[in-house]
C-alpha cells in the first residue's frame, strides 16, 4: 500500500529534529570555545546542528513524495513488553527477584494472542525459580531474592 506522504521519512525526520532541539536546549549554557580550544559545548552543538539538518531534510522529503504505508502498530504487544520491564524495575529491589521475575513474565506473556494462561503461569514460576538459582545463588547478583 502506498500513501500520499512518505510517513516513515517524515516521522524519522521529526524525531531527529526533536533530539537536536533537546540537545541545543540541554547544552545551552556550555561554552562553545574555538576549534583550537574546544569547550564542552563544541561537539554537542556541532552534532545537534548536523542532526537538525538531517531531520529537516527527511521531513521535507517525506512531505514532498509518496511512500510505503507504515504497518499499523498494535498496542497490546507494545504495552505488555514495556509493562513487563516497568514491573520488573518497580518490584526488583523492593519485592525481590522471585516476585519481580514472576510478575514480569506474566505481564509480558499477556502481549501474545498465543499465550495459554495455565501454561504461562507454570512457566513463569519455573523461570522465577530458575533465575533466583542462576543469578542470585550461582552468579551472586546483588539483588534480594525474596520479599522478606
Amino acid at each position: 500500500m502506498t500513501t500520499r506522504f512518505d510517513l516513515q521519512d517524515a516521522l524519522f525526520g521529526a524525531f531527529l529534529v526533536a533530539v537536536a532541539a533537546l540537545t541545543f536546549y540541554a547544552t545551552r549554557t556550555l561554552t562553545f570555545g574555538s576549534p583550537a580550544d574546544m569547550g564542552p559545548g563544541f561537539m554537542p552543538r556541532v552534532l545537534a546542528g548536523i542532526a537538525m539538518a538531517f531531520g529537516l531534510f527527511f521531513v521535507a522529503r517525506g512531505l514532498s513524495r509518496g511512500g510505503e504505508a507504515i504497518e499499523r502498530p498494535h498496542l497490546r504487544p507494545f504495552a505488555a513488553v514495556l509493562g513487563a520491564i516497568a514491573v520488573f524495575a518497580l518490584l526488583g529491589v523492593k519485592a525481590g527477584l522471585a516476585v519481580a521475575a514472576l510478575a514480569a513474565v506474566l505481564v509480558a506473556a499477556a502481549g501474545s494472542d498465543e499465550t495459554r494462561p495455565v501454561e504461562a503461569v507454570l512457566f513463569a514460576v519455573a523461570l522465577a525459580v530458575a533465575s533466583v538459582l542462576l543469578f542470585v545463588t550461582a552468579l551472586a547478583l546483588p539483588i534480594p531474592a525474596w520479599p522478606w
Binding site: F88, A109, E114, S131
Partner: protein, 499 residues
Amino acid sequence: MELFDNLFLGLQVAVEPQNLLYCLFGVLIGTAIGVLPGIGPIPTVALLLPFTFGLEPSTAFIMLAGIFYGAQYGGSTTAILVNVPGETSSVVTCIDGHQMAKQGRAGHALALAAISSFFAGTVATVVIALLALPLAALALKFTAVEYFSLLVLGLIAAVVLAHGSVAKALAMIVLGLILGIVGIDVSSGASRMTFGIPNLADGLDFVPIAMGLFGLGEIIANLERPAERRIVAQKVGSLMPGLPDLRRAFPAMLRGTAIGSFLGVLPGGGAALPPFTAYALEKKFAKDPSRFGHGAIEGVAGPEAANNAGAQTSFIPLLTLGIPSNALMALMIGALMMHGIQPGPQIMTEQPQLVWGLIASMWTGNLMLLVINLPMIGIWISMLKIPYRLMFPAIVLFCCIGAYGISNSMFNVWLMLGCAAIGYFFIKVGVEPAPLLLGLVLGPQLEENFRRAMLLADGDVTVFVTSPISATILAVVALLLVAMFSPKVARKREEALAE
C-alpha cells in the same frame, strides 16, 4: 618467527582449563541462540557482559567471541532443518540446505555445514594472525590526527554495507554520537546533557541501549505478526557425506573461505555479506547452475565457509586498530572498556595474552563446535520446538536482569525500557539501529581525538589533509560517500543487498 611465537603464546592461553571451559560455554550458548530464530548474538552478548566482570579479560573475551561464531553454526542448523534462518548470515543456507533435508539428506547438509565452517574457521584464524602484526605496526605510527580520520572511516564504511538508506544510516550515526556526549566531559569536568540525574554522570551504558534497540524492539514487532508454523525435518539421516559429495564441496569451501576472509575484514562486512557473495559465485562457477535451489551441496559448503570466515576476520579491525566493523564488534569495544582496557592500536603490544589468546581460542572453539555439535543435534532440534509464546517472556526477563546487572541499579532497566520503545519506533519507520550503536561507542573517542588533534594543530583543520596517512584515509571516506550518493552505484548496491 614472531608469528609462531605469538600463536604459541595464544595457544598456551587458550588451552588453560578455565579458558577452555568458558570457550565451551560461549560456543554452546552461541549455538543455542543461533539455532533459535528471534534471538541474536547482540542482545545475548549484552546480557552476559555484566557477568564477565569477575573473569580475567582474556577469559571473558574468549567466551564472548565464542557466542558470536557459535551463533553462525547454530543458525545454519535451523536453516537446514526448518527453512528459517536462525541468523541473518544463514539466509542463503536455507536455499539448498533445506532442499537437501527434504531429500532426506539433512545429516549430510549439517555435517558439511559444520566441516566447511571448521575449515574456514581454521584458515581465518591463520589469516588474522598473519594480518594482525603488520596492521598493528602501521597503527602505532598513528597520532590523534590519523586516529580521528580512521574513526571517521570506520563509521562511514560501516554504513556503506548496511541495509537500507545511506542518508538514514548517517543520521543514525549522528544520533549515536549525540548519545555518546551524555555524561561528564573529560577535559572540562562540565556535565553535559545529564539533566541533573546522577546516574548519567558516567555516560549512557550501551548494554541497555543495545538490548532495548536490538532485542526488545524486535520482540514487540515480532508479536504483531502472526506466529509462523515451524515444520522441523524429523529425519536427519546419516551424517557422514560420501567421497563424491566431499570432492564436490571442497573447492566451494576453499572459494567461500577466501571470499569470507576478505569481506569480513572490511568495515560493515561482518557475517551478513560473505555468504550471499559466496552463493552467487558458486552459481557462476558451477557447470550446471540449474542444480542450485534443488539441494546443491556447493550451495551449502561455500556460503557456510564464507560466513564463518567472515565472522572471524571481522575481529581484525577490532584487535589491530580498535575499530569495530559491525554492531557486535562495537559491543566488544564497549566490553573492553568495561574491563578497563583501552581499545586501539596499542592493544596488541599491551595485551598480547588477550589478543593472541582470543585468536587461538577461535581455533579451539571451532574444533569444539565440530566435535560437539553433530552428536548434540537432537538437543538443538528439541530446542526448536520451544514455541515463541514461551521464549519471548523469558528473553524480556533476562534482558531486565542483565540491564540491572551492569551497575546493580534499576536506572538501566528504565533506560532499556525507553530504548525498547525507540527501537520499536525505528522498526516502524524502517531504520537500522546498528549505526547508532557504532556512533555511541566510538563517539567519545572521536571527540577526544578531534580535540587533541585541534589542540596540537592550533585549530588548523587542514592538519587532517596534510598528514599523508590521514589524507589517504579521508580520501577513501570521500570516495565512499561520493560513490554511495551516485545513483548508479546506489542501484547496484540495492541489487547486491537485495539478492
